[in-house]
Symmetry: D2
Subunit: 304 residues, 4 copies
């Protein structure tokens, strides 16, 4: 296990007529390099992977990998109705140069079937696999026991992107049963990032549109300055929390990335929610209250 740090989940940018916008995608990658991210994740839920055609998935992965070059690893989301589809996607990611794949569980509430699913995907590729444990979106429940067993018994299954409530208690249960065989990454917009690090997570994969904050918390924590990590985390929590609203968070984030000059449009494929003028002002107010601004380009300095 060597993956660690902040790997932002990138939104998939679209042109005004709704096509994948590779130019903006590359600009997103450049921004994440500039901000000091340790990698990026594409084709997650926030990347609207479920709203892309197969050829568009390939387009997103290829452009991201190409732009990232050797700067950092690119992880790719896999979401399918069954193992054959998941294997096809994971192999495609590998062929396109992805460093790893985070794989949603199958829509089957049966422990052995879930185990077999992950084993078949992990066995079909050479890149490492992460479980994406996010029942709010995928509806499949994975017990801590099952996750630990998969971590211990499936070669190639090395990480979990953990987004099942209560996430902190579950993290500790998994670690108790599989201390060395499964690395844990947080998500959930960064809502519990500090406590996750304190409990031993390796980093985070999430879509918060101010990765400066996540990188700041992570680097302070890793350098041993836990007080500074907490100070940053607490200061920006009103913004983290605002952005994290389920179902509408993507619209906030595309708006932020657009205002920051990184993506060309705020286009979201239907049935994704849009935000109105009032909400944009409300978001601006929260952004400004924590000391950021939507009016400047480039990485912004932390105040804490």
């Amino acid at each position: 296990m060597d993956l660690h740090g902040v790997l932002p989940i990138l939104p998939t940018p679209f042109t005004a007529d709704g096509a994948v916008d590779e130019v903006s995608m590359r600009r997103l990658v450049d921004f994440e390099v500039e901000v000091g991210a340790h990698g990026v994740s594409v084709l997650g839920f926030m990347g609207e992977a479920h709203r892309l055609a197969g050829f568009e998935r390939r387009q997103v992965v290829a452009a991201t990998v190409d732009q990232a070059a050797s700067a950092f690893p690119v992880w790719v989301g896999v979401l399918a109705f069954g193992a054959a589809g998941a294997i096809e996607q994971a192999r495609e990611a590998q062929e396109l140069g992805a460093a790893g794949a985070f794989v949603a569980p199958p829509p089957v509430q049966n422990d052995q079937a879930i185990f077999d699913y992950y084993a078949s995907v992990a066995g079909a590729v050479d890149i490492p696999i992460a479980i994406h444990d996010f029942p709010e979106s995928f509806r499949t429940l994975l017990s801590a026991e099952l996750i630990a067993r998969m971590g211990n018994d499936i070669e190639g299954l090395r990480y979990i992107k953990l987004e099942d409530y209560p996430v902190l208690a579950k993290m500790s249960r998994i670690q108790a049963s599989a201390p060395d065989s499964i690395g844990i990454f947080g998500g959930l917009g960064g809502m519990y990032f500090l406590e996750e690090l304190q409990r031993g997570s390796r980093g985070i994969m999430t879509g918060f549109a101010w990765p400066e904050v996540l990188v700041g918390v992570y680097e302070a924590f890793r350098s041993g300055d836990h007080a500074r990590a907490a100070a940053i985390f607490d200061r920006y929590m009103p913004l983290i929390r605002y952005e994290f609203q389920p179902r509408i968070g993507l619209a906030y984030r595309k708006h932020v990335y657009h205002e920051r000059g990184i993506i060309d449009t705020t286009f979201i494929r239907p049935p994704g929610m849009q935000i109105d003028d009032y909400t944009r002002r409300e978001l601006t107010a929260v952004v400004e209250r924590v000391g950021f601004t939507l009016e400047r380009r480039g990485v912004q300095a932390l105040v804490a």
Copy 2:
């Protein structure tokens, strides 16, 4: 609207090592021609479409269309997480020669989003589209009002494969609101086929492995011999009902098609359920009680 009759949902046959078995697929098509079916449907739930990779979907459709030649139309199932994926699949079906596509709803419980989903798929192809209303598998609920509205307002959306309980009441509600714009096909293993015909359905798309019975009921009914249609239906109901058991029906049907010499193996992709020896004997007993046999090849004569 010209589609009508019995369009069996074909299982996807596999070789002993789990690959798509085109030879058996073609034999299935030949059998359906021989039995007098009015078409076939592939890549439905019983076709394990959710367990196939993209390249395998194409393989199944191509082989079926090629083998069917001009004998009858081939309808193809579409199941995706979003509209872009559904359009990609529907276009692929059209390019491969399918006569139409039956499309599962998106995993979104929102009437307008569902309407837009079907409108975008129907608008992207030239072949007719059918709604696949099967909440037990897809979890999305479609009201009769929404279905009627889609039938009335979406060009190219012409049929529905209706499998939502109570199916008879829903069928009549849809017909009352969209009498001329949406043709109704039954499913649910044929459990309510007679009453569906009496209420004005155009036919059935289902996986019952004795299509002789469905064709017999349909032809008797269409010829005006309603008493004979009912007699056939009632006589074979113990078998229809036995095969229809949710989650295990596919295993019954692959066993039957295998015993009848049509497909080479009973292989089902995980996590599909298998049946044991006891169950095979139990199935044989039901088959024999209605007057069929698993020991003979070819179409079997109806007793009623």
Copy 3:
């Protein structure tokens, strides 16, 4: 374990203004005695228990127990959001003279929590408890392993009313793990009653409004005349299947009991579905096709 046979799930009859109709309730009990049922079950899903107030639950149980006198045992359904409510209901049933309680699982998808729930209810009363395994209504999944463990380890937990698909496979798995500690009763409208008996079930608790058929199958089977049991079962299957339609079955059954002169009204509490004139004629046609009539009072003779 001494419970066995046919214990019809009784609908709760209402007066024309929607109050519990004790007189009709008592007539239902008398009819079940006359038909040779081995007991009755009240306050099940088909008994609209979820639509009754607490005082009405007590009213239904008291009237049924009083009318049944020593004729046969009365089983009572328990449905609650948590253990305290379930215990309260089970104790009430016991105090009112019920012979046992069939208990819906808690709305929690966690094996240990489910085990503890049943253990706490069984431990709070002296009457035997049955699990009601019906995920279509209760949404909680119970694995065969969990059921067997509960049967083996919880004193007082003696039976299961099994209505989870595929029911036959699950029945055999439970029996393999808990052969002597949990008696199995079928449900599901009688759809698999014959095969359930063949696999060793002790009987059935279901709402089919022609208990003559279920008693006929059961008595023939128990006397060793398996061919006659099968003949009866098959002959009436078209009616069993028609009545069993999810969500509307209760309306069919209240109509049948009303036509047969047993209950005074077909009142169903909202949001229960009603049936229209067309459907009543459709039902009548099915009834007549199997050789029954809605025009005569009293137990009807079987034709098979």
Copy 4:
């Protein structure tokens, strides 16, 4: 509509052997009076209402109303499987002196059925009714249109406790359609309380165990000092967010109320989650970082 302000959802305290602890309940009420709350809400989800027997529900309501005397209104939660049960609970609440009832939707995904449910409950009592819109727990989805229609058309239905994501967008949609007929209260642990007030909510009903903060935000906002409201809100957000973790929040809150000397035990009825020593220290750290302490009794001063 005259209800407004902060009405904390009270947990139900238990004695060490799991019985309802009336003494602690009364101490909770006294604390809420002292802290300046505008009312209290009992028998909500956080009040473990689903884990209480009927006689315990009555006990909780009676003790709370008696202790509150004329200090402030007591609102009571109603959760039932059907309208008869809900009416029974609402009438009981009224008889015991409750000021209003917040009513969970029925477990039925059908707009007309939901409308009729609320209409029948509101019509059966003289106290005002609030909708409890919390699909994460109750699984029933209520559209903004349906809520507005119920607010406009059902007399006695006056408020909504809104906890459906994204809550801010939904709030504005409801207000646009029913500006004067339905008052909106927030929940969700206070996560969006500031923005809810800005959008016109009348207050909040939630379980955050530091009601000082909610009262502080509310009073500052109502006095027109919006900057101070925001400053308080932002400063305590790290704690609000920590406590709000789904499924484990109740354990945090009982621990806090216990440490603060208000309730005698942290007992939670199974299958509620408990917290371990590590988590208690983690919680203490968050509490102290925002400037509170678990070591002192009584209302604590705000730092902002």
